[in-house]
Assembly symmetry: C2
Homo-oligomer: 328 residues x 2
Amino acid sequence: MARAWHLVSRPEALPTSDNFALRDIELPKLEDGQVHVRNLWLSVDPYMRGRMNESRSYIPPFQIDEPMDGGAIGEVVESRADGFAPGDLVSHFSGWRDEAVLPAKALTKIPDVGAKPETFLSVLGMPGATAYFGLLDAAQAKAGDTVFVSAAAGAVGSAVVQIAKAKGMTVVGSAGGKEKCEFVRSLGADAAIDYRAGPVLASLRDAAPDGIDVYFDNVGGDHLDAAFARARLNARFALCGMIAGYNSREPQQFRYIIRMIAMRVTMRGFLYGDYVSRLDEFYRDMGELMATGKVRSHETVFDGLEKAPDAFLGLFSGANTGKMLVRV
Amino acid sequence: MARAWHLVSRPEALPTSDNFALRDIELPKLEDGQVHVRNLWLSVDPYMRGRMNESRSYIPPFQIDEPMDGGAIGEVVESRADGFAPGDLVSHFSGWRDEAVLPAKALTKIPDVGAKPETFLSVLGMPGATAYFGLLDAAQAKAGDTVFVSAAAGAVGSAVVQIAKAKGMTVVGSAGGKEKCEFVRSLGADAAIDYRAGPVLASLRDAAPDGIDVYFDNVGGDHLDAAFARARLNARFALCGMIAGYNSREPQQFRYIIRMIAMRVTMRGFLYGDYVSRLDEFYRDMGELMATGKVRSHETVFDGLEKAPDAFLGLFSGANTGKMLVRV
């Protein structure tokens, strides 16, 4: 019997395991044009928190008592569709479960570029492309810039650090705790800020005494305010996420936002979805950066479908270094 | 004896008349290349509040016990410089005083375009150009957009309303009190919000039920948060000022800033100074809008040099409709 995680209640603040239930699901009989997939890897991502609220955002909310979904890598076990054969590795969006029957158009075959399959949920997948286009397009970062990136040990942040270094930028990354800061430095960052050790603003002043040209925001809150305070003339901020606010209904407080005027800061929200038409460009450039060893994939793996909610909740307590994945 | 207003102490929060003193000043003997000017009109502007703090911003702070300066229109009384003769009307930056001796290069002759001289401190001056380039360049506003502008009865805001209407946009302006809202509507705004009558967000929802494409911010605080809450896809925000924060050391609170991501909002700080190289374009277009009656100048006038601090303080209590000026 196949199984899938269901959302059984909407979290008010930080979700708990009570919000989720693993239930048997009936797989439909395979019909023409369809493929039966067994999942190998599931992605859990901070943006999924937004889908647990009732209100519609850029992506519809999860429905109560329905299976959840998200990025996944699977292996074809049976196919009644042209172009797919048993053993093929595919990426698709029916995660949070162990098996799925899907129309062929919902699947993308993973290209054989010498990368591990799970890399397509990490630096060669949505987090990597988010980092790539957020940094180079939304923030218009270029060689010589000083880039500040928050959650630099996370899936997106760790890709931002590596891409920025590969492109000739100076990078300051923030992360929680000594070990993660060590990891951020190992990615090539010029400096790492431990946001648990003291106020972000003071640390950023020390790490980038001449200020910052680019801020890649995954966090919001104190980090964003510190970036306002330290922005140089014509700085560009790309807003990717604000994990500090996902589980809170309190307003965020900014003491330095007014500096946006004097420093002519441009701040822009963006989504991965805005760039899917440019993925070829990403695969080409990122493939080369990986082939030359300038960018590597880093993952934290939870084993077993049963662990999917723990992996997801771990995103909010900082349990992951690099991309958080579930191995089914 | 010439007189000038001096800053005698730095205000902590809202300035008071105690922070200023009107003192005699010694005018230097007129030398070759210099012009003696008698001021007719002085400008007082919200940005001057920032110059009363000690910290350096995009413009140096006022010095304690030194004459203040700012935009002014004067008449030449004596000239030892080529190109200037008694009776010429000139604009310059030695305001907050009745007379000044200045090098010729500090003066600009007012062109004879049929406008009253004080218009060059208003819609044909810095506030008008700020409105023009902020709306059309920083916010990239275009025909068909729904534009929200705060402090819409003020010098910059009232110009934004008129330019936006002349360019085919739908305009919602906010102002404090019934009378000012009436004024905003008289400028052509499709709707006016009285921010003193209730929460800005609820009023904006009523006034622009489909949301806003552009926000021209003069205020920050609740207004900016309401704009975040009501931003449509790809909305553009131009940050011109945040008067709500000028006299406060408290952080500003934003509940809806996270919507910048889902709505891909671009927010940009800008200054008048960024556009001085494009003033020709402004004079051409704005001159035509004025000639055809689409844009008019509106001023609130305080009479007498003695009243300059009162006029300035009035900016923070909403004493002005249109541009606040001092007639010397």
